[in-house]
Structure formats: C-alpha cells, structure tokens
C-alpha cells in the first residue's frame, strides 16, 4: 500500500502538466455542452464541429496521459532503473489503474454530472448510466492505449504500433467485405462470443504478463495469435445461417409487408439521369419500382436487407447475396424501389427474356403503442421522451431536443399541414401533407463523453427526393402546432419472400450503368 501511494505521488508530480491540460480540455468540453440560446441554434453546425474537436483533443490528452503514465515504468527494454528496484508489480499495476480512474474517470464523471445539471437535468437518476458510460469509455478507449503502452517503450513506438493496428483493421474489414453476406446485420454467433472473450482475455493476459514478467516476445506473440484467430473467425463465420437466424422466414397468416411492382411508374430509376454515358461495367444495376405497404396498419416496417433471385423458364437461375439496405415503410402503398446488381454477361443473356424475380426482404416490424401530443412553443418546450426542445426559427420542419442519456429510443412522430398554426403564407401550398419523424434506435447512448444527447427531430415525407420544389411539400411547424407521437415496440425481425413473374430486366436496367454494389430501398407518398 505504501509503495502504491509512493508511486502515485511520483506520477502525479511528474504528469501534472498532462493532468492539467486534460482537465482544461474537460472544462472546455463542459462549457461546450452548456445549452445554447435560441439564436445560437442557427450556428449549430459550427458548435457541433467545435464540440467534436474539443472531444477529440480531450481524448488525445487522455491517451497521452495514459501512454506517459505507463511508460514512466517502461515494461520494454533492459535498462530501466526501476526494474532492479524493489517494485512490487501488483502494486505498480494497481497504481496505474487507480491513477487513470482518479485523473480521467472521476473528473469526467464530475464533468458529466455538471453537464446534466447545466442542461437542467438531475444527475442522481442517471448515475448508473454514467458509471456504465465510464466503463464503456475505459474499455473502448483507455484499455487499447494501455495495451499499446505496455508493449512499447516510447511515444513514437505507440504511434507506429497504433498505425499497424489501424492497418490491420482496414485490411481485415476489406477482406471481410469480400465474404458473401458479411455486410448484413446478423445474429451473434458462438464465434462472436469467443472473439469477445479472446480480445478481453488477451488484453488482460498481455497486461499481466508484462507487469509480472516483462516478456515482450510472449506478449507480442499473444497479440498476433489473437489477431490471426479473429481474422480466421471472420472467415469461418456462417453469415447466411446467422442472417436466417436473425430474420426467420415469416410464418402465415402473418404478413408484415406487402409489395407489388408499380406498373404505373416509369421503369427507369427515380433518380434523375445525369446524362453521362457510363462505361459498361462488370455488373449492371437493376432498379424496380414497387408499391409497399405494411401488413398491419398499426405497424411500421424498417428494411434491413434484400436478396434477389432470377429464374428463367429453361431452368437457369441466379441469386444475389444478402445486401444491407435502408428504408422505412410508414404509410400504405408507399412508392419505393429496390435496386440490385446483376453480372453484365447475365444481364445481356436475360435482358429480353421474361424471368421470375424472387425477392427476399429482411425487415424489422414495430407496433405503434400509446399516443401523446406535444404543442410546439415559441421558446423551449418539453416533449415526453424527447426532452427539452426548441426550434431555431419559425416556420420550420425541424427542431432540436436534448435529453439525458437515453435507453432505446423507438418512436414515430407525425405533423400534418392541416393542423399547422402557421399563417397562410407560411403554410405549404398542398393541404393534407403529413410529415413523419421516425427513430428506431435501440441503443440510446451516442457519445461516451456527453451524457446529454442532442437530437434533431426533423419531419419529412418519405421517398420524395430533394429538389427545388419539394420544400413546398414539407409540413410547416409554428408555435401552437400540435405534433403527435407514438411509442413503438418491436414486433420482431423476419424475412418475407415475394415472387414476380414475367419481369424483363431490360425494362428496369439503370441507364446510368453500374454505380456500386449495394441494394437500395426508398418509399414515396402516393
């Protein structure tokens, strides 16, 4: 214990400048998190950047502090004076951990409490969440830097090894992207759990080995083995099976989503043609207009992925991999489209042949629950679940809300132009326009630093692409305008199968040529 305090005193004396810098940046961060006045909302973009910059500098200052702290008793090399002194390694390790808690975690906790208070929220109800944020920050940010520091002797080495780790991440991501179906959201597997256990186990083992024995080769070997093992796990993960587990095929009589080919619309892409002549690529993009409706009017459907199959009468067939896609079906008979790429050779051989198009859609359904109404106020107003909200100016179709750490945030908001309190000149020319705001996030906390989550609540009409005239279709919100909110609950994730006969690919080929490799989905109001 004496030794622990003795080393702690030494580290504080040595690193007081770094501590002071991090505290100053923390103070600046708190100042940045103070709620802004109405007028300052217009400068929101600038403020956002500044806050992010401060957060980045703050994180860098913590990393510097941790690196210098650990490397003050460097665990790599043979010439450090402390190695032949009566240091007891458990006390040394505990001292480093306590130092980080005392000079990084505790000040941050105090700062977060202060941020909550300054934003008008009581901190006490959120202490458990704040502690959870601290733990996440330590695991996500401090632990990797601590690991790098115990494996290196100098700051430059940390940077070089850090770059190597980033390179490994980039290469691994690039390799995984080549594996079919890997980009789709999927259920966690035993391999995922094993990967997590390996990462935690290896990090802990390396830190312990270094402090207890200073066996750098063994430690580096452990890290390399873990990296290879994780890459191997990615290769052998049965992605298709896990997607099937995450999105089981829907069983009758349930029909979460109904779709049909929209024959009334032009068969070209709804995206404006750029007029450029693209060089023919290896793949050809097909865009098919669709009408989509939720099977249950009380449900909205969020699309996660798409997989298509082409079947020719002579028995030839082709099937794509699962591709991630976005899109939310909120209103019945939504105009939408799905997009996929087929090999150009195949396209040319099939383009004028009627084929059967099989579409599998992976989606998540949410049921609307209780409703509540919020009347917009000229100044700040409170909206249940959204927190304290304010608009920069009126009329508007968006406002910003700030709330303490959120859990899951599933809700649907609606505003109709017929209920708008804006003056006639401010109203949109069309009546009966409904704007929707959807939030389907199940993980609420966005920042590990700021406990006050600030969100833009924007109302839009689904599927309408921005153009010079579309602003007219947006609902106008003014003081007194009611907004209707529904809480949502997830019904489940599932996949649906749809089949369309007699589809001629030539009618749906994107004339701009190939762009990317992903599927797409969008919804339009009728």
């Amino acid at each position: 214990m004496n030794q622990f305090l003795h080393i702690l005193r030494k580290d504080v004396r040595h690193l007081w400048k770094e501590i002071l810098i991090s505290w100053c940046l923390l103070g600046l961060f708190v100042w940045r998190c103070i709620p802004r006045s109405q007028g300052e909302f217009t400068a929101m973009a600038f403020l956002q950047v500044s806050q992010e910059l401060v957060a980045l500098l703050l994180t860098l200052s913590w990393w510097t502090l941790i690196i210098r702290l650990v490397q003050d008793e460097s665990l790599v090399g043979h010439r450090q004076f402390w190695v032949t002194r009566p240091y007891r390694w458990p006390e040394l390790l505990v001292e480093k951990i306590v130092f980080i808690l005392a000079f990084v975690s505790v000040p941050l906790l105090i700062a977060q409490t202060l941020i909550l208070r300054l934003n008008g929220f009581a901190a006490l109800p959120y202490w458990a969440d704040l502690i959870r944020m601290q733990a996440s920050l330590l695991v996500a940010s401090a632990l990797p830097v601590f690991l790098l520091s115990v494996l290196t002797a100098t700051f430059v080495q940390v940077i070089l090894v850090g770059l190597a780790v980033v390179l490994y991440g980039v290469v691994q991501s690039a390799l995984i992207a080549q594996i079919p179906n890997s980009s789709m959201q999927h259920a966690s597997s035993v391999l995922d759990l094993l990967s997590g256990a390996i990462v935690v186990g290896v990090v802990a083992a390396v830190i312990l080995v270094q402090y207890a024995r200073r066996r750098i080769l063994l430690s580096c070997g452990l890290v390399l083995c873990a990296a290879l093992l994780l890459a191997l796990f990615d290769l052998v993960t049965p992605y298709e099976r896990l997607i099937a587990k995450e999105f089981p095929r829907v069983t009758p009589p349930r029909v979460p989503l109904e779709i049909s080919i929209d024959t009334a619309r032009p068969s070209q892409s709804v995206f404006p043609n750029s007029g450029r002549t693209m060089k023919e690529g290896k793949k050809t993009r097909i865009t098919i207009p669709i009408l989509a409706s939720s099977g249950d009017p009380n449900e909205i459907v969020a699309l996660s992925g798409i997989r298509v199959g082409l079947n020719v009468p002579d028995g030839k067939s082709w099937r794509s991999n699962w591709l991630p896609t976005g899109g939310i079906v909120v209103v019945p008979n939504s105009q939408e489209q799905f997009t996929f790429d087929v090999p150009t050779d195949l396209y040319h051989s099939l383009k004028d042949t009627p084929v059967r198009l099989d579409v599998e859609l992976a989606s998540a359904s949410y049921r609307r629950l209780q409703l509540w109404k919020v009347i917009v106020d000229a100044s700040e107003f409170y909206a249940p679940r959204l927190g304290v909200c304010a608009a920069a100016s009126f009329p508007t179709d968006m406002f910003r809300c700030r709330a303490p750490i959120r859990g899951s945030w599933l809700m649907l908001g609606m505003v109709t132009s017929s209920e708008s309190t804006c003056s006639r000149s401010e109203k949109a020319p069309s009546t009966g326009i409904t704007g929707y705001f959807t939030s389907l996030r199940e993980d609420g906390v966005h920042s590990l630093l700021n406990p006050v989550v600030e969100e833009t609540v924007g109302f839009s009409i689904y599927g309408v692409r921005q153009s010079e005239e579309t602003w007219k279709l947006h609902p106008r919100i003014c003081p007194g305008t009611p907004i209707h909110f529904s809480a949502l609950t997830m019904v489940g994730r599932e996949s649906t199968f749809h089949s369309f006969e007699g589809v001629k690919l030539a009618e749906y080929a994107d004339q701009r040529g190939l762009v990317g490799g992903s599927g797409g989905f969008a919804v339009m109001l009728p």
Binding site: R79, F81, V83, T84, P86, Y87, R88, W89
Partner: protein
Amino acid sequence: MTEAIETQALSKRFRRVHALRSLDLAVPFGAIYALVGPNGAGKTTLIKLLMNIIRATSGEATILGIPAPQISGRAFTDIGYMSENQELPEWMAVGQFLSYVAGFYPKWDRALEAELVRDFELPLDRKLKHLSRGMKMKAALASALAFHPKLIVLDEPFTGLDPLVRDQLIESLLERAAEATIFISSHDLAEIESFSSHVGYLEAGQLRFSEELSSLTERFREVEVVRDSPAPLPPSTPASWLHVTDTPVVVRFIETRFDSTATDSQVRNVFGRVRDVTFTPMSLRSIFLAIAKGQRGATR
C-alpha cells in the same frame, strides 16, 4: 548458503550467438569480485541474467540464495545494482530521485544518503538530465548504496569517468566492503586491480578462471633464466610455462604455478646449469595479457 552468487552451467544464446557458455561461477560472501574481460565477452549478459533482467537459455543461478528467475520485488531490498547505461528518471532532481528511491527500501539510511551526497558533491536540486555522466553515475551509485545492500552489483561502473570521479566511487565502495559482497564488471584491469579480492576472467562467454586475486598474483611470475652457454631450447617445457621465448643465453617465460622452491628446481631440471634465475611479480594487467594471448594461441 556459502556463496553470494553461484551459477551452474549457465548459458545464454541470442539466436545463433552464444553469449555465455555453461558458466560455473562462485562469489563468496564478503568478496569484492571483479569480473573482467574484453568487450563482448558476456559480462553484461551475465549480470543481466543474475539480476533477472533477462532469462537464461539453460543452467541455474542463485543470488543470495534466491534463484535468479525469482529475483524481483522484495529481493531487491538487499541488492544494489548500477549499470553504466541505466536509464534514470531524468525529469527528477537528484534530491527527488533519492527520496523517491528511498521509499522502496525499509533499511534506507538517511545519514548514509547525506554522507554519500556530501562525498559525491551531488547537487540535490539539479535535474538528472542536466548532470554530467559522472554525476549521474554518482547519483545512481548513491541510490544503490544508501540502503546497506548485502550485495552490490555494478556493471562497468567506471566506463568513461575521469580518474577523480572513479577514485571517489571506488573509495565509497570500499567503505561498504565490510558489510557487503561486491560484484563488479570491467574491461579495464587497472581500475579494479587496486581493490578487488577476487577476480574472474570472462572471454567469449566462457569463464577462463576465477580465483582470489592474491593467489592469482602469487602464482604468476615472469621468469628469466640466464644460461651458462648458448643452447637450444628443450623440446618440451612444463605445461605451466607460458610464452617461452629464448635468445642464445636468456630464456624468458611466464610461470602460472609459481612456488619459489619448486619452480627454481623445475628450471634447473629443464635447463641444467644456469647462471641466474630471476622471478619477477606481475601486474594483473600483465597476467591477463599473458592469459589472453595464451588462450588465443591455443584457439588458433
């Protein structure tokens, strides 16, 4: 436990380089043991093995009865170690450094610390990074002596120091000699000759010999034999004679097993009638040079 340091068949290999080869060493308690040898002989490697800074490839070593791989933490409260290239916390002032190090030793002697600071003329308020090499070495030595260690291990402590500083360090060491075993490595014979009680010679990772300095200097003599008349050298000479050279009348060699009576009669047996035989004591430097030349000659 009769030895302060003991190794048995201690070996260390760095990939294809054998830094130490099956080393057997015994350093008795109370000795001032000088480990000498040319650069690259393996002296620093041996000391790092003893201090558990690196691990042996094979063999065993015990320090104060503790196996070397277990030397850590509390074991260092009895061992004072200093190396010529040790990295000190340079951001600390000398006073801070000594106070900080003191916190780790229950037996730290403030009075002795003050005495060492005074003797070494250490500027307590000056940062280590602003000190000369000699002053840094003095600060490091002070931190390695002020807790009355039972064993003092010094790796090339005098390298690059001016004679005055070197003498100060030696003087300070000798003052501790009564209460500690001192193990010191050096490639310079002259600097350890004056105060060592034991000496070991390490070359190419092998310990050529290890014994008390007095017995070493006793058994080595430069011998000059003046014969009555010119005669050829006998075809064989005793194995204990090194570097036998002759002129028509005078034969010179180095006797490695000197005993005044026995050597004299041995000379007379080999050469018959001789006019004069002189035995000249040798400096440690001359002894080592003779041994080194002998080893290299044997190797060739």
